[in-house]
């Protein structure tokens, strides 16, 4: 491998690692990729918060598609229910992004931190909700 090849590989490695860790945690704990991907992108790849969140969403296109393909034949996917909550969620995501644009990055990180703490408490205290 020449030098540019090496540095290219070094640039890819953190993303591969973040991907594997998020997939591992998703399978083990049923908590999807974003909660892992966003902090790791900020920490390891030094991405600004908004870019980390946007790139996480793009990653979830792939992971949710793969997941659905795996489940599709098994009868576990209820498409009507998925549409009932997924279609209103499209409106929600547009609202969330609009709100995010006006929010200073530090407030965004603060909000995300609180969100992560709530999830952590839920797991530690074994609250099934």
């Amino acid at each position: 491998m020449d030098e540019t090849g090496l540095s290219r590989a070094a640039g890819v490695a953190p993303y591969v690692a973040i991907g594997i860790v998020s997939g591992l945690f998703a399978a083990l704990f049923g908590i999807g990729g974003g909660i892992i991907i966003v902090p790791l992108l900020m920490l390891i790849s030094r991405m600004p918060p908004r870019m980390a969140a946007a790139t996480s969403l793009a990653t979830l296109i792939l992971t949710s598609l793969i997941g659905v393909v795996r489940y599709a034949g098994t009868g576990h996917v209820d498409w009507t229910a998925a549409a009932a909550i997924g279609v209103p969620a499209i409106l929600g995501v547009l609202i969330g992004i609009r709100f995010q644009r006006r929010l200073p990055a530090d407030w965004l990180v603060l909000g995300f931190g609180i969100f992560v703490i709530v999830l952590g408490l839920k797991l530690v205290l074994e609250i099934d909700l």
Binding site: A27, G32, L60, V93, V109, F115
Partner: protein
């Protein structure tokens, strides 16, 4: 009929709420979708998780598309992470079959508390400095 209307309204509200979290923080919304499906429509865990994945697809597509207009999406990183995640899911599923997950979940919860706490402390410090 009354109950059905209530169910529908709660479902729509939960969907919008999940979407707002997705747009703000870049999570998929499964954290809201799964319990909503389980409690509201009495889905079992596997049905809820599989259906939640289907509901995440349009959210992720529309969200990423909207953010790409501001050039915020690193598509190359996303593709690589997506491929890595596919591998991680396969390995994780093998582990999950062999190890009971109650204790593991609590360990993961502690990790989340540390990560979240670190973010809150850092952000608060920076906000104080600015003030």
């Amino acid at each position: 009929m009354d109950l059905e209307l209530t169910t529908l309204i709660i479902g729509i509200a939960a969907g919008i709420g999940a979407g707002v979290l997705a747009g703000l923080f870049g999570v998929g919304g499964g954290i809201v979708f799964v319990p909503t499906l389980a409690l509201l429509f009495s889905f079992d865990q596997l049905d809820a998780q599989a259906t939640s994945l289907a509901a995440i697809i349009p959210v992720a597509i529309i969200g990423a598309w909207r953010q790409s207009g501001e050039d915020l999406v690193n598509w190359r990183a996303a593709a690589i992470m997506g491929a890595g995640a596919a591998l991680g899911v396969l390995v994780g599923a093998e582990i999950a079959i062999r190890i009971p997950d109650e204790r593991l979940s609590q360990v993961f919860g502690v990790v989340l508390l540390l990560v979240g706490g670190d973010m809150v402390i850092r952000a608060t410090r920076r906000l104080r400095k600015q003030a």
